[in-house]
């Protein structure tokens, strides 16, 4: 029992370090990708090809002064970034990186991740409210409406996957997927996959849906009043959230750890490649599309994605009952 607990803690420490390293280099990757898409170099100064840039950024943020606004609501202001980070990091627990390798393979994995992703929205809303600043307030308000709107679309988009896999357990979804005639659910669930991709961008507050923090009108939105490492915690939460969403997309639609052939000694390779591709997709969209207007975001969520997702559920039902039977 004691050994089991120690092993679990060791596993958590290892996974946590790997995720943090990924977050650090996700920022570097983002700046490089967007840089090259805009025909410039991205970070080049710190280390060869700017490779040490994330570490320099981290050190800088750590030593920054912690500004605490006079009018802010103290406990909520303290709690908000931590809620964001904890909610995002806890979702990592149920993600299977390869066969049998998850911190905790609970039977309601998918539901747990949905719950945690809406909890991360809480952090954003509380931050906007607690800052007691107009920009932050507006950012938090917009975030709350946007996150709840796209949560419905996201929740509905994966119903098709649940119908096909017959489980909420992440590993079983991957296994059912590998046994299905298509190999990955992105083919029979193409509509669901599309809705998921759009909702994924909106849930993590990424461009083109970054209304909660759109710098051209709200300064920095909900994190306007946050400085130094508190701001960094929001940043970490956002990037961990991206990694989690990319992993969910990989597991539900792209076949998780399964690949065209087995790679010995390195079973995580396919999972990693697929997650990297989806993270690249986040940056690709950011470099390509301008920001939506707020009413357009709401219209897209409520009038396009929800009917599409519901249609996908009905379509999957028809196909499962009458065609693939």
């Amino acid at each position: 029992m004691v050994i089991e607990i120690l092993l679990t803690i060791l596993l958590i420490v290892v996974v946590f370090s790997v995720i943090m390293l990924h977050v650090a280099y996700a920022t570097y990757f983002e700046r490089k990708v967007i840089g090259h898409m805009q025909v410039r170099m991205g970070p080049m100064r710190v280390g060869p090809h700017g490779l040490l840039q994330p570490i320099a950024d981290g050190i800088k943020l750590f030593f920054k002064e912690d500004v605490f606004p006079e009018t802010a609501d103290k406990p909520t202001f303290y709690a908000a970034p931590i809620i964001c980070l904890v909610a995002a990091l806890t979702s990592i627990a149920v993600i299977p990186f390869w066969e049998g390798m998850a911190i905790s393979d609970i039977n309601i994995g998918l539901l747990f991740i949905l719950a945690m992703s809406s909890l991360a929205g809480w952090g954003v809303v509380l931050a906007g409210w607690a800052s007691n600043s107009k920009y932050a307030f507006l950012g938090g308000l917009r975030a709350s409406a946007q996150i709840i709107s796209y949560e419905i679309a996201m929740g509905l988009s994966i119903v098709g996957v649940m119908m096909m896999a017959g489980s909420l357990n992440m590993s079983e979804i991957v296994k059912a997927q590998a046994q299905s005639p298509f190999g990955i659910y992105a083919i029979p669930q193409v509509l669901g996959f599309f809705v998921f991709l759009v909702a994924m961008l909106a849930e993590t507050n990424r461009t083109p849906f970054d209304m909660p923090e759109c710098e051209s009108e709200l300064v920095a939105g909900y994190c306007t009043e946050y400085a130094g490492f508190r701001f960094a915690l929001f940043f970490l939460g956002e990037y961990v959230g991206m990694i989690v969403m990319a992993s969910v997309g990989t597991i539900c639609f792209l076949g998780g750890w399964t690949g065209p052939f087995e790679v010995p000694f390195f079973p995580i390779i396919w999972f990693m490649l697929k997650v990297y591709f989806l993270i690249f997709f986040f940056y690709w969209v950011r470099a390509t599309l301008p920001r939506y207007r707020y009413d357009q975001i709401m219209a897209l969520g409520w009038k396009v994605l929800i009917p599409l997702a519901l249609g996908n559920v009905i379509l999957t039902g028809i196909m499962k009952t009458f065609v693939w039977h």
Binding site: L11, F63, A93, K134, G166, K303
Partner: protein
């Protein structure tokens, strides 16, 4: 075996949660010892493009946001009802399909009504 279920799977989830919490708190608390602190009034005032803040920041906002929240409560609950149905879809067959068509039809009726009333349209 009813009554013998021990949610031991959730133990590691709890550990990870505590670990993440510890990381967040420790990073802020430890940094506090190393960080420079030089607060003065102008720095601590809520940001408003360099001006003194006017009025209260928590002003009245559009009633639309409340409407969205109510619609969310309705639709999200109905969405949750779809989950158990989706999980056992294979076992129930045609019965489940017909049942769900009725449910989704009712959901759509409410949706069309809300749309017709202009609840989903933002600008007015």
């Amino acid at each position: 075996m009813p009554g013998s279920y021990l949610p031991s799977d959730y133990m590691s989830v709890l550990f990870l949660l505590l670990f993440a919490l510890g990381f967040g708190v420790a990073a802020i608390a430890l940094g506090q010892l190393l960080r420079l602190r030089r607060p003065y009034h102008e720095k601590l005032v809520a940001y408003e493009s360099g001006n003194e803040p006017t009025e209260l920041p928590r002003f009245r906002f559009s009633v639309k946001f409340y409407l969205i929240a109510i619609l969310f409560a309705v639709f999200d609950v109905e969405c949750i009802f779809l989950y158990p149905w989706a999980i056992v879809y294979d076992k129930l067959g045609l019965f489940a399909f017909a049942e769900m068509l009725i449910f989704i039809f009712l959901l759509l009726a409410g949706y069309v009504y809300a749309w017709g009333k202009g609840a989903l349209t933002w600008e007015r």
